[in-house]
Symmetry: C2
Subunit: 320 residues, 2 copies
């Protein structure tokens, strides 16, 4: 008989899930008490939270439990590095139906743990409840190690806009899966398991990035957050955006526009930041400029080649 969450029970599952969790030096009290205690050496804790819901953020027939775990951790860790911080720990809320195989939940946990292990991050606590649909709630923590956080509001006219990481891959993978296909494999894998450029967040902060955020809603949507918070106009040069071959292949096969994947696809968790021109790290690609808003294109606007982008500008929850 397959063990399920119902037969294992809440405490049995928690025991199985936590017994082999590696705990880093920063963890003063790990899982198993009312709360965890984590050292915050410089006295400032960076905090972010994301909720993933089955059917909305993942599908069991498209993604394995392990992949869902990797993705849930990755998107939170990307938010921490987008502040210029070093991720240290996460806590996980998990909901699932009583008939969910316990193995599924443990594979999810393994995915979370493996993504965390890339960065030496510890899973320090969590909560497990029963719910009809699978729910994964991750809250991630990071340390600034004495640096200032890199906010969305610091972009200045004259700065260059640069990106690190992939754009449009996850969206192309979604388009493929949505049509019932499983290839090109690279974009499908990108949808299942993002690969944020973790090391580039601290690198950008050390290089003096004036603003930064991770690309979770789409390049244009997330740059708009920077343009609004910084009260500037941002212009992207489309020629600076390379369109990788797999994205061109998907665009041809699905009748989509490959540039739209790059400009509006989220969930790759690339990083986008602004720098004074001399400060851009050589691991980053310059794709545009920051200017003062004008009458045609006011501050808070993002243009592509000097014009508003005509296509959709990224997804938003609730609206369909």
């Amino acid at each position: 008989m397959t063990e399920t969450l119902g037969s294992t029970g809440e405490f049995g599952f928690i025991e199985a899930a936590t017994k082999s969790l590696p705990q880093g030096e920063d963890v003063l009290v790990g899982p198993g008490d009312d709360a965890a205690v984590v050292a915050v050496p410089d006295g400032r804790m960076v905090i972010t939270t994301d909720l993933l819901v089955e059917g909305r953020h993942f599908r069991q027939d498209w993604s394995s439990a392990y992949d869902v775990g990797r993705k849930a951790a990755a998107q939170n860790l990307a938010d921490i590095v987008a502040m210029g911080a070093r991720p240290t720990s996460i806590v996980v809320g998990f909901g699932g139906p009583a008939d969910l195989p316990t193995a599924w939940a443990l594979e999810l946990q393994q995915g979370l743990g493996d993504e965390c292990e890339l960065l030496g991050v510890s899973i320090v606590g969590g909560d497990t409840v029963q719910s009809d649909k699978i729910i994964v709630s991750v809250t991630a923590f990071g340390s600034l190690d004495g640096r200032s956080p890199v906010l969305r509001s610091g972009a200045r006219p004259g700065d260059e806009v640069a990106v690190a990481g992939r754009l449009g891959w996850a969206e192309a993978g979604f388009a493929v899966l949505n049509r019932g296909f499983r290839s090109p494999r690279t974009v499908v894998e990108a949808h299942r398991r993002p690969a944020p450029p973790y090391a580039e967040g601290v690198r950008a902060a050390l290089a003096g990035a004036s603003s930064m955020c991770d690309v979770s809603d789409g390049l244009l949507a997330d740059l708009t957050h920077i343009a609004v918070a910084s009260e500037v106009l941002i212009d992207i040069r489309s020629a600076a955006l390379t369109i990788p071959e797999p994205l061109q292949a998907v665009a041809s096969a699905t009748g989509a526009d490959a540039l739209t994947f790059v400009l509006t696809g989220g969930e790759d968790h690339a990083l986008v930041a602004t720098f004074e021109p001399a400060d851009v790290p050589d691991t980053w690609t310059v794709i545009g400029t920051v200017a003062v808003g004008n009458q045609t294109h006011p501050s808070g606007t993002v243009t592509v080649d000097g014009q508003p982008y005509a296509g959709p500008t990224g997804h938003t929850h609730f609206r369909s």
Copy 2:
């Protein structure tokens, strides 16, 4: 037309929900960026997380949105105070269907905010997604202000067991609601909106509590956590447990045992702790003793009047 999450949209809702959030002195970066930044004066952050799911942890016909918010905040803040810490901030993940009235979500937010305001706690960030059932995920943070955390593992033979706060009220309220009644009002209100004895956590820590936890699964279940973690035998004296009049009324009306409400009812978020006899604060009630386990009742066991308790010992998720 009633505004719904679908018509308001994710960003519209977030703007409405965060525009008037009071932010305490500890909040260095509040809502609106990739992550929040919170000051942790003594370099150690206390962290806990809880997930509430509609139908499992609350019902819209039993609890108002405002009550759900109060309860979601309260149960997390209780975990922070159960470590002997001072709650400082929370983040909130929220999921709801597109046709949920925006007013419902804002009332939930108001409930969260009002519970937090009791303790000067700030809501520093969150995430909002679409889901069929309403989901509220709260992660709460606290500061030890230089003290050691009070763990579950520190109870010592010779200590006294003491409680602060209400026991069995929420469970009696649940029993009433479950039968379709709405009174006694005091227990129904206790189910809807717990009133944890927040000030008693730090008081117990300062008094030298050797172990502490909050009563979320039921007194016997949570004391068992202490007995197991501390490797001791705990005995409760039933005569020391007062049975309040409303609980007796519910027990009479439903054919239940009022003592069972007190011993096994969770969700009032009372605090239970162990102290050396001279250290028990006068705001706490002594209800039992800590001893070395023996052959009949080994360490890790909780007895009532020297005997294993014959009734159910508290709820567990997944098992029904």
